[in-house]
């Protein structure tokens, strides 16, 4: 069957890139990040999600090579 890590990895990578780019684009918008205690959570979460997505993809590929 399909390895579930592939769709998970793809989805989190795509959303991760999307949110990080959005975070970068809104970097100067201090008003928007006031509610998140002046932290650019989009950039942080975006990067974290991208890393998570890539780890998932890496693990799914590594398994394939072994088999």
């Amino acid at each position: 069957m399909v390895d579930i890590r592939i769709p998970i990895g793809l989805m989190f990578s795509i959303i991760g890139v999307l949110i990080s780019v959005f975070g970068l684009a809104t970097m100067s918008n201090t008003e928007m990040y006031q509610k998140s205690l002046n932290i650019n959570v989009n950039l942080i979460m975006g990067v974290l999600m991208l890393i998570f997505g890539l780890i998932m993809l890496y693990m799914s590929q590594r398994k394939k090579k072994k088999a």
Binding site: M1, V2, I4, P7, I8, L10, M11, F12, I14, I15, L18, I19, F22, G23, T26, M32, Y33, K35, S36, L37, I39, V41, N42, I44, M45, G46, L48, M49, F52
Partner: protein, 575 residues
């Protein structure tokens, strides 16, 4: 109280929907017979089934309700996650799973048929099917209402679209698709709520700051200063903690009867372990699920506790909207917190997490419903197997798919009934939740006492259910205004809180079931031979398990000890 979403939030949601449906689409070609569709071909790796196991339980009502409970009861809510889940999950994995999985039963009702008889299966199958449809209808209604009130979406549109998405991926890929999506949903829920926990905790000055802010609030309510940040410390008497239940009720009612009834016998949950690729994997499923389960309180209960501090700090401007009854609407706690802290972008992620939790709960209901309907009702009473395996497989696949559509349509219907007669639906749900405790009594006795007979089990099941019903009809929680909460026969006893009433109803159901089953077993004749019961009863099943060559973390007992130790450490840390 409206939450405004921007284009990026909607975009994230769309990406999520595409992946959810895409998984179903990719799996559709593997659905060649009923076995693949309804049982996922018994091919799931332990970690996949384990995460799905916990994700099914993490439905929208659970997430919204537990954050609300966090705000009402503080850390005491973790009883539902630690004492109220972990022992039962360990028990299921170590002691019960070998018989469930080894029996080759495809559902819990079918296990009852193998161990006892047809009538016991029939009773359980029908009650379960009705309860499942009710439950998914009620959560669907709650979600659509939330979308209407908070996001300004159209009620009918949100109801139908969310139902159609769940239908789409469960119809295409069956249980495999439901399980795969539950794993995806698990990660979305965790990652989507993570920024909220982090920001909210930072805002109140960390755990230490939170404790300090909660002390005057607790004292104003007449409790000790650290009531909201401790678990067992004030459970000596019911009046000393906001939960309103004393240690015995928590330990026996929640920790034993309710939690074993839910985790060990609710097919919705257990089905995920049935889908595992081997007996050894099936035993690991509940334990792998238990590892994240223990930490979910930090994700959904802690924000609720923070909401309590925020709502008492005028400077924060945090208020819950009022419910129709007049008090604060605790179910909206999580969404108000998302609104408070998350800017566009991660806000879309948080809302997607809520939608994901709704879908994982609903897909769980649907995939359990279609299995019980196809195997336990249709196959046993309407069209039995012909013997031609290939043709049967195709026929029951078709039936399973039609049952999926019907299950969703019935859920939609019950969602509309709930929107018109909400109280009646609440009442029915309370009633049907009474079936778990007697079921656990009967399955437990069946697995560990070979003499238990079919007649005794059937009567025990029925008696426990009826007595629980009568208890509910004779008692009321303090402050109840409608008969839906109980007391519809007479009012003989008033419980301080509704939760105490629920705990005691379950305790009575379990005790009556056990007593009746044991007494009747001595009065009736065992019709099953020892040979027939092999693999179903503990004492008649040879010990085949020899896993001593595996590393400890590959062994169910090794994992069980790890889970138990972490649970104990957490309990002591937040004692």
């Amino acid at each position: 109280m409206k939450v405004d979403l921007s284009w990026i939030d909607y975009l994230i949601m769309m990406i999520y929907f595409i992946f959810v449906l895409g998984i179903g689409w990719f799996l559709r070609k593997f659905m060649k017979n009923a076995n693949a569709f309804l049982e996922a071909g018994r091919s799931m790796p332990a970690w996949v089934a384990g995460l799905a196991f916990i994700s099914t339980n993490l439905g929208a009502l659970e997430v919204m309700g537990m954050t609300g409970s966090g705000m009402k009861y503080g850390m005491l809510t973790t009883h539902f996650y630690w004492i109220g889940a972990i022992p039962a999950m360990i028990f299921l994995a170590v002691f019960m799973m070998p018989f469930y999985y080894g029996s080759k039963a495809r559902s819990v009702p079918e296990f009852l048929k193998l161990r006892y008889d047809e009538k016991t299966r029939g009773l359980n199958a029908i009650l379960f099917a009705v309860m499942t449809v009710l439950a998914s209808g009620i959560s669907m209604f709650a979600l659509a209402l939330l979308m209407e009130n908070v996001l300004g979406w159209n009620f009918n549109l949100s109801l139908w679209i969310s139902a159609l998405i769940v239908l789409g991926y469960t119809y295409l890929g069956g249980l495999s698709s439901a399980i795969y999506n539950e794993v995806l949903q698990f990660f979305i829920i965790v990652i989507g709520l993570l920024p909220l926990v982090f920001l909210a905790l930072k805002d109140v000055g960390g755990w230490v700051g939170l404790k300090a802010q909660l002390a005057p609030i607790a004292q104003a309510k007449g409790f000790a200063a650290d009531t909201f940040t401790t678990t067992w410390k004030y459970s000596g008497s019911a009046g000393a903690n906001p939960l309103g239940v004393e240690w015995f009720g928590i330990l026996f009612g929640l920790g034993f009867v309710l939690s074993f009834g839910y985790w060990c016998t609710n097919f919705l949950i257990v089905q995920r372990a049935f889908a595992a690729e081997s007996k050894a994997a099936a035993r690991k499923v509940p334990l792998i699920g238990a590892l994240p389960k223990m930490f979910i309180p930090f994700l959904i209960i802690v924000p609720g506790i923070i909401a309590l501090a925020l709502s008492n700090d005028p400077g924060k401007g945090f208020n819950l909207p009022l419910s129709s009854g007049g008090g604060p609407d605790y179910n909206l706690t999580i969404i108000m917190l998302l609104k408070q802290y998350l800017p566009a972008g991660v806000l879309g992620l948080g809302i997607t997490a809520l939608l994901a939790s709704f879908m994982s709960g609903m897909a769980g209901n649907v995939s359990a419903f279609n299995t019980v309907w196809t195997y336990d009702i249709y196959q046993s009473y309407i069209r039995p197997r012909t013997g031609n395996e290939e043709e049967d497989g195709k026929h029951y696949l078709k039936v399973g798919r039609i049952a999926t559509i019907f299950g969703i349509l019935l859920s939609i219907a019950s969602a509309y009934i709930a929107s018109k007669f909400g109280n009646i639906m609440d009442f029915l749900q309370t009633i049907f939740s009474l079936i778990n405790a007697p079921l656990f009594a009967v399955i437990f006795l069946g697995m560990f006492w070979k003499r238990t007979t079919g007649h005794a089990a059937f009567t025990g099941l029925l008696a426990g259910f009826i007595l629980a019903l009568i208890h509910h009809g004779l008692t009321v929680p303090a402050g109840a205004t409608t008969i839906i909460k109980g007391g519809w026969i007479a009012n003989l006893h008033t419980y301080p809180v509704e939760m105490a009433q629920n705990f005691w109803t379950a305790i009575i159901a379990f005790t009556v079931s056990t007593t009746v089953t044991v007494v009747l077993t001595f009065l009736t004749k065992q019709k099953k031979t020892d040979e027939e019961l092999k693999g179903l009863v503990y004492s008649l099943t040879p010990r085949e398990l020899n896993d001593s060559h595996l590393p400890w973390y590959e062994r169910p007992t090794g994992l069980a000890i790890l889970v138990g130790v972490i649970a104990i450490v957490l309990t002591i840390m937040f004692w």
